[in-house]
């Protein structure tokens, strides 16, 4: 715990509150200082910490990979190029085994999602108090450093993927073909249209929801456990030592979780887009 005056629930609440910029109910713009103030700001506010970390990690990905790409030679590859090529090859193998159409967007899309989500998830491995406490020391009241524990971030990516699903569904099948798919499956009868539409629409909507909420849920839960473990550090030497061991164990396990979640997000994106390209009856 950061200070003796804080209660446990304050501590948890502090860790779960974003640094949100928006309009206060009294009309002036500024940062929210509590979860209640964030709620009062409504939709037209922005989580500055999530955006900054998300953009920062995106830039880290873009610049590091760009550097490797610019220096890429067909000769013997060196360290960074090797790593980038391994990821590129891994993504290429994965996408080409799922996605059988010609589309230059899919593989870079999958790689961006995989690496970016991985980096965002990896922020979870930084001890939970370091960066928020540093921010407090610098005068910033709240700092959530794992963007993928913010549903705005995960749902934004899921909805972006959903937009691509709709775009390619209509592009590949035509508006009529897409509507037919929604209404004449799985029962090809004119009388079954309401039932079909209900089934197909639910399964269509379920795609972005499950995609975004799965990542959010996993990361939020993981972060929560790190916060709970961190609480033990305030409970005396025995608790602190036990907490240290627990944190190490959970971090090791979490390495698996963050990689897996990044991979699942990328692969499901490719699967959904492959379905959007499927024109044959099924």
């Amino acid at each position: 715990m950061s200070s003796e005056t804080k209660t446990t629930s304050d501590y948890i609440q502090h860790h779960l509150t974003n640094l949100t910029y928006g309009q206060h109910p009294d009309g002036h713009w500024g940062f929210a200082h509590s979860a209640a103030e964030v709620a009062e700001m409504g939709f037209w506010s922005i989580n500055v910490d999530s955006m900054l970390w998300s953009i920062g990690l995106g830039l880290l990905f873009a610049l590091v990979f760009r550097r490797a790409a610019v220096h890429a030679t067909s000769g013997v590859p060196s360290g960074l190029q090797n790593m980038v090529e391994m990821i590129v090859e891994f993504i290429e193998d994965t996408t080409s085994s799922i996605f059988h159409y010609k589309n230059d967007l899919i593989a870079p899309l999958a790689m961006t999602i995989f690496v970016w989500v991985f980096l965002m998830n990896a922020m979870d491995l930084v001890p939970v108090d370091w960066l928020p406490e540093l921010a407090v020391a610098l005068g910033v009241s709240h700092m959530k450093v794992v963007p993928s524990t913010d549903p705005n971030i995960t749902m934004a990516m899921a909805l972006s993927v959903f937009a691509l699903i709709l775009y390619y569904s209509i592009k590949q099948k035509g508006p009529v073909g897409f509507i037919k798919e929604l209404t004449l499956h799985p029962f090809p009868s004119i009388f079954a249209i309401p039932v079909n539409f209900l089934l197909e629409f639910v399964s269509l909507i379920a795609k972005p929801l499950s995609l975004g909420l799965r990542l959010f849920g996993n990361m939020y839960a993981g972060e929560m456990i790190f916060i709970l473990i961190a609480l033990m550090f305030g409970g005396g030497i025995v608790y602190a030592l036990f907490g240290g061991v627990l944190q190490w164990v959970w971090a090791v396990f979490h390495v698996l979780v963050i990689t897996l979640q990044a991979f699942i997000f990328a692969v499901l994106t490719v699967v959904y887009l492959a379905q959007a390209h499927d024109t044959e009856e099924h």
Partner: protein
């Protein structure tokens, strides 16, 4: 969990990074990897070709060697034949020369003998004449009996 404009900001960011990756990262890395694949494939092909060439060269060399050996033995055979022929010729020539020399020596010896006989005959005739003169004291006219004396000398 409250949704706010972050969702819009993140969507824009998302499409920006996907676009950046598609335009500026993926094609370059992919091109380098494909190029390396081709280089490696070409290298493997070249080494296979070199292997084949080496095998071909080895068999060629063996062939050449065999031909050269055959040629060399033919040349040696020829040289040997020529040498024995030369020896044979030399022998024949030597034998001829020897015979000729022997013939010449014999002829000379015969000549010498004849010459000696001739001279002996002349001396004997003279001795006979001298002896007869002594015996018969001037009774023998050299001119008169010359023919007879010659006949006598020839009989000796």
């Amino acid at each position: 969990m409250n949704l706010n404009a972050t969702i819009i900001g993140q969507s824009i960011t998302f499409f920006f990074f996907v676009w950046f990756c598609m335009k500026f990262i993926w094609p370059l890395v992919g091109a380098a990897m494909r190029e390396r694949q081709e280089t490696i494939a070409a290298g493997l092909r070249a080494s296979e070709e070199a292997d084949q060439k080496l095998a071909l060269a080895a068999s060629n060399a063996e062939e050449e060697l065999t031909t050269a050996k055959a040629e060399a033995s033919a040349i040696i055979e020829q040289a040997r034949a020529r040498a024995s022929q030369m020896v044979e010729e030399a022998k024949t020539e030597a034998r001829g020369e020897g015979e000729r020399l022997v013939e010449a020596a014999k002829a000379e010896i015969e000549q010498e003998v004849n010459r000696a006989k001739e001279s002996l005959r002349a001396q004997v005739a003279e001795l006979v004449v001298t002896g007869a003169e002594r015996i018969i004291e001037d009774s023998v006219d050299a001119d008169k009996h010359d023919a007879m004396l010659k006949k006598l000398a020839a009989e000796l």
